[in-house]
Symmetry: C2
Subunit: 492 residues, 2 copies
Amino acid sequence: MISRVKAAVAQLVGGTASSFSPGSCPESSLKFKYSRPAFLLLGPEEIERAADHSSRPVLLSGQDRRKRRKRLLPWDTGYAEVINAGKSILNEDQAAREIVCVEKGDRKNSTEAKTVKGDGRADKERDGLQFHYWALFDGHAGTDAAVMAAKLLHLHICEQLRGIIDVLRDGDVPPPICLTSNDGAARGNGARSPPHQGDWEPPTDSESRFLLEKEISHEYLVIGAIENAFRQMDQQIEREQSSRGMLGGCCALAVVYFLGKIYVANAGDSRAILIRNGETIPLSNEFTPESERQRLQYLGYLQPHLLGNEFTHLEFPRRIQHREIGRKMLFRDYSMTGWAYKTIEEDDLKFPLVYGEGKKARVMATIGVTRGLGDHNLKVHCSNIHIKPFLSCVPEVKVYDVTKHEHGVNDVIVLGTDGLWDVVSDREVADTVISVLSDCEPDDPNRFTLAAQDLVVRSRGTLREHGWWMSEDRLGSGDDISVFVIPLYGHT
Amino acid sequence: MISRVKAAVAQLVGGTASSFSPGSCPESSLKFKYSRPAFLLLGPEEIERAADHSSRPVLLSGQDRRKRRKRLLPWDTGYAEVINAGKSILNEDQAAREIVCVEKGDRKNSTEAKTVKGDGRADKERDGLQFHYWALFDGHAGTDAAVMAAKLLHLHICEQLRGIIDVLRDGDVPPPICLTSNDGAARGNGARSPPHQGDWEPPTDSESRFLLEKEISHEYLVIGAIENAFRQMDQQIEREQSSRGMLGGCCALAVVYFLGKIYVANAGDSRAILIRNGETIPLSNEFTPESERQRLQYLGYLQPHLLGNEFTHLEFPRRIQHREIGRKMLFRDYSMTGWAYKTIEEDDLKFPLVYGEGKKARVMATIGVTRGLGDHNLKVHCSNIHIKPFLSCVPEVKVYDVTKHEHGVNDVIVLGTDGLWDVVSDREVADTVISVLSDCEPDDPNRFTLAAQDLVVRSRGTLREHGWWMSEDRLGSGDDISVFVIPLYGHT
């Protein structure tokens, strides 16, 4: 097993695509070398042992084995992870936990951001505003994209926030609609615009309609910054993938605690839930071929060349046989939620753009998630049809205003990759977490780590003769599983 | 006032567009002559009196003034309406209440449907399945589209359901994916299809993925039938509009009770709520430039020729002045929920595709709703830019399974055009309805009409010196207002 890992790591450092010559770009390659999250403080041997598919050891935050002492994550955040049961050599999940200071810096050095040591409390009153950050990345078709995103996404968020830091600092007045200088963020000058002077004039029966000035809140600026950070991250991966022939992509789920609000940004099928007073509240939606079917079909309908004459944007409940032409079959197009019968034509024999159900649903028979980072080189097998145009790198961002709620000692946010959520329900996750937390003293800083551990152990299950089982008749997850348990009490 | 109405009705019968020669097509025109809902049983003079903007009389169902007797709607459904305060000469709302028998008929006569007299109970066991139907249509830019839809939409729904009646009748087994004969609905033959035989082959690592057969429920067939009925209705209006130069469009909200389930189909900004055990549950979403901003921007981005070189798909919080080129202004594109700053370019001086807030939000500075029927000839003022490509005629259909809930004597569904919802909240509507219903004997068949009346009277307000007021400081609705109150107890 370990030798397999070694070979894989060596291959990864040298690049995964055949067009790449090992050694031609070692520094750049090393930058994104496969590893486990830095905060796990693992040595090379531990990283190898972690990849043992037969034992699937659960790794926890807070354990510095080399120095034989505890080093908990800021906020006593709990983290646990486990590798898959053999579906890929390496653990394709990655995780990050950072405190980042958004200093207004020299633009020339703007790609650098200052991460804060400790729990960041001492820095709160400094010049720069800071944010807390947790993220999970679930890679596919390789580990490169997830590794890159885990190392860099928070820096892109920092960079985007830096561009609006003066506006955000001035929290008592709405953001100016138009900035008056190149860099600073002064007030809007209040001048109202006349209608557009062109051939066409908007109707003037209600002139005031065109003189409105929409008020944008600071919260929407932060959302926009996070959305753009994901886009920047995706473009950076694109540059790496094109220059180094890198492959693969990843789902990304990031939580940002900034100026009293929690922003949950999700692109993919990882999920976040809030457990408050024993109740579960979803903080994210999943983006899959099923949940985004209509968006995908609409694009295929409007730009049929993207379907490469091999796919149809229509959905059918099964493949059609040639001899069925002329008969009526159930279908639905981009605008429908329901199903109806249509007479089958030659064109309907093409493979459906979106096909399959649940975990087996695929875009162009290839990929099972529709948002995320990377996948710039992803093509349909044995074809020249690109899949990236159908994928979105933009997350959905949900905002949770922590100041509007009282939080108890057992109130937490749980982040998990799909390895967790595929086998346990929100309710089971909440019951597990509450049970573990209640069994510990409320001031025990380890209890969130124990809760994360319990979630991973439970969803992995135990090894029996034929695989991993949660109970007699319930299969455990054979996927990589990564979980954060983030306490809210005393921090927000 | 009455003379104004007379002139308008005359103009309408002769066609509204200048290109139409009065008298050239009188039968077709008369078919869609302006009137009030047939179930109100109004004579011509009453229709004229109803259009008096100065008194705004509230009209109720169940009152046959000519025969001086009560004639309640089936299910004792309550209905009330009032004209606007002067924004258009005629009441642009329309309403329909029907019981329709879906008989399997001769396809040659398929445009005819049988509506059922009385409450339809005697027909339940007949050959055809029947559905109950309530609908509101809120017209704009004329009354033609709303009048047509009120007369015909239920027939299109009937026609669509007729096509699948054998499948629906066979309710114990899932609908066949492929019909084995031209007309009938036999079982699917169970044969599985091989993968598509073309240049490209889907990957075969998990062959079973491509051999799946998705199970579709009867419910989704009914949803598909309703969606297609809206589309057919829209196409029929298109034919009328092109042949007779008809103008205008309408929002459509339809409720269908069929085979134990209530289907709420909405295209526009009318709304439906359920009041159950004192609680309010929304049964529809509104489709406006704000709620559908991203869909509209995405289409403008993918097909920029639809913007006619006059509009930009980007959203800005206000108009931009030429001298602001080069400065940074807040914007968002189709993929963003948040806002960010961008440097203004020449192209950004174009008018935003989606502009304005709340009730003043418009597509291309023209229309304030994004789904509905008609508007095929709608263009941007003084231009050749068509707006219809940005509008959708497909409703969102929500399903309420009445068999899964116990309903009390005060449990109802309330349908209202935006004239109602613009001035009263869901909670206020529920409180009003519950208060009226509780004041009546539970077996009083008039109480739902009284509830509808109270809602309309309350949201219209009373006339004072300067307009209609609900209270000292709260304006009533100056719009047309139409309301159905549909009881659930004892019928579902």
